[in-house]
Amino acid sequence: MNLTPSQWAALLPLLIPTLGACLIPLMSLDKDQASAKWIRGAMYGTALLAVGASFWYLTGLWNTGAQPSFFQLRMDRLAQFTGIFVLVAAALTILQSWDHFHQEGWVKGETLSLLLFSVVGMMLFASTTHFAVLFLGLELFSIPLYALVGTVRARAESAEGGMKYFLTGAVASSCFLMGGVLICGLGGNFDLAAAALTLKVQGLALDPLVLVGAALLLLGFLFKVSAVPFHQWTPDAYEASPHPIAGFMSVATKGVAFIALLRIFPGSLAPLSGVGVKLQSVVAVLAVATLVLGNLTALVQTNVKRMLAYSSISHAGYLMLAFVAGTPAAFSGMLYYLVIYLAMNMGAFGLLTAFGLVGEHTTFDDLRGLGWKRPAMGVAAAIFMLSLAGIPPLGGFFGKYMIFRELVSTGHVGMAILGVLASLVSAYYYLRFLVALFLQAPSAEAERLASDRPAVHAPYAGATVLVAAGIVLAGGFLQTFLADGFTRRALVDGLGLIR
């Protein structure tokens, strides 16, 4: 079968990481990976190369403005945006994991391979409206992640977290599948857009089974974005997984799920207007629950990773508010928020690596005084936390601003007030991070332990943190470029929501 250049163009961004994913396990076959430095280098190099090449290719594609497709894969601007988003996250993750796995004392090529598979799955997931491919994409990015969460074999918690993630994830996937089957079965087409159109034409838009299908489909997405009450896997899985993987999950899974949700619900299922209305109301309810529960629970955490997990839950709440507003500008704001969120959370998790917190030593007490020992990291931490809390002029504020603005302009003032109150609560626990970093001296015990331990060397993680901090700052000062030039165009050209 011969592929046209256009088809190649659509396929290549996925193909390159796939190749990397296949190559890396070959390198690690039967070798003592921990001692053979060059093998490690080669594996990480390959992974980075794959991600980088794909990124380079995608940005090139973005600049040409072409929106090619390959069968059910539609590499439109929104998909390109997703690709760039995921690849950046992956690149940061790879860099961080080099340091992190060193600290943990082991390196596995499989990890990188799984990560790359996951990346491919994510890109696929967000680039199609065909349900079969969508489902495959979902599984392709989920299954490696299940494995990645449980990958720290020395820790019982790792396996436990992986198991929990897997089981809940499998249930959610089954629901997702059932929902899709119902819609596609009744609509007679596996392309959701076409099915929705058919259903509308046949007057079946309000068929109860279609609605059930839509609800179950939505459940699948909400699980991935860890919206309440589908969120409970999140803190456990994050705590179980290596820091970089937790960061990757918090960012990429959520981001891709939101983009796919955007593509499917307001996008493909748009003909089913009833579904859209229900979506708005149910998302409103769940967003409130997510904001309240995520923030409140984050408040009482002692473990930084769990705090960040609940914080990521609460951020899902903010992002869901974009669906409550439901306007193109809100979605554009959501994409913008995702970009900043990527930087903030990858940075925050990267900090844990950069500070050399290994194993279970990720409580707030373990952070004490580190900000002064590592000033650059400390400044970056301040940027991330304040941005997460939505303090201007950092990027996080502008994300919230755009969403709240649309909420207010669509008459959801109450929701906006709730949102700001939630971010008030969130400010407290983000400040706690900074309190530990800057305002508290390490306990004598911790000082003694620290002097026993070798000095922390995490150059790559540190670099990623700085890059992320740069992005957050840029989000505060170059928001026009990011919002109009990037997210808005992704939406305009990809989804045609803004005309």
């Binding site: 299954i143 299940y146 059930v212």
Partner: protein
């Protein structure tokens, strides 16, 4: 015929749910898979029925049973935890789901219409057609499925390989 296979399927599943012994439960599950295969036959899809038996019963269930044996975990579950709220809420939910599903299926105009028009349609699922579709329209899916298997394999290896 339909009723028979449906009953095999559902009763097998129920038995699995209620069976304390894990191995027996696994065997009940096998019965369910056979029932499903029967339903597929009734649906005029012998290919699917064959795959159902080969893959699910032959591969997946054997794998599960294998693991059960390996882990010696055929011990019975101990008494329910002291807080039974989980059980009652779950039961209520599942019951509602069961009753609701029947009602919804019956209430669905789409299903009704499809049932009327579909009963008359001929059966045309052949392996040949499936193969053609797989490599023509669904090349992407096919390749992704392959990747998925590879990824799962690597994942399983990464999780269990002993000398790491």
């Amino acid at each position: 015929m339909f009723i028979t296979f449906a009953l095999i399927t559902l009763l097998g599943a129920l038995a699995m749910l209620l069976q304390k012994n894990v191995i027996v439960a696994g065997l009940c599950m096998v019965a369910t898979f056979f029932g499903v295969a029967g339903l597929f036959v009734l649906l005029g899809n012998p290919v699917a029925a064959a795959l159902q038996i080969i893959v699910y019963t032959g591969a997946i269930m054997v794998l599960v049973l294998f693991v059960i044996m390996m882990l010696n975990s055929h011990e019975e579950e101990k008494a329910e935890s002291p807080r039974p709220i989980q059980r009652w809420v779950s039961l209520a939910l599942v019951a509602a789901l069961a009753v609701g599903s029947v009602k919804l299926v019956l209430a669905s105009p789409g299903v009704k219409a499809l049932n009327l028009q579909g009963a008359a349609l001929p059966q045309a699922t052949t392996l040949q057609k499936v193969g053609a579709a797989l490599f023509a329209d669904h090349l992407l899916g096919f390749e992704v499925a392959g990747l998925l298997l590879l990824a799962a394999m690597i994942g399983a290896v990464a999780l269990t390989k002993r000398n790491l």
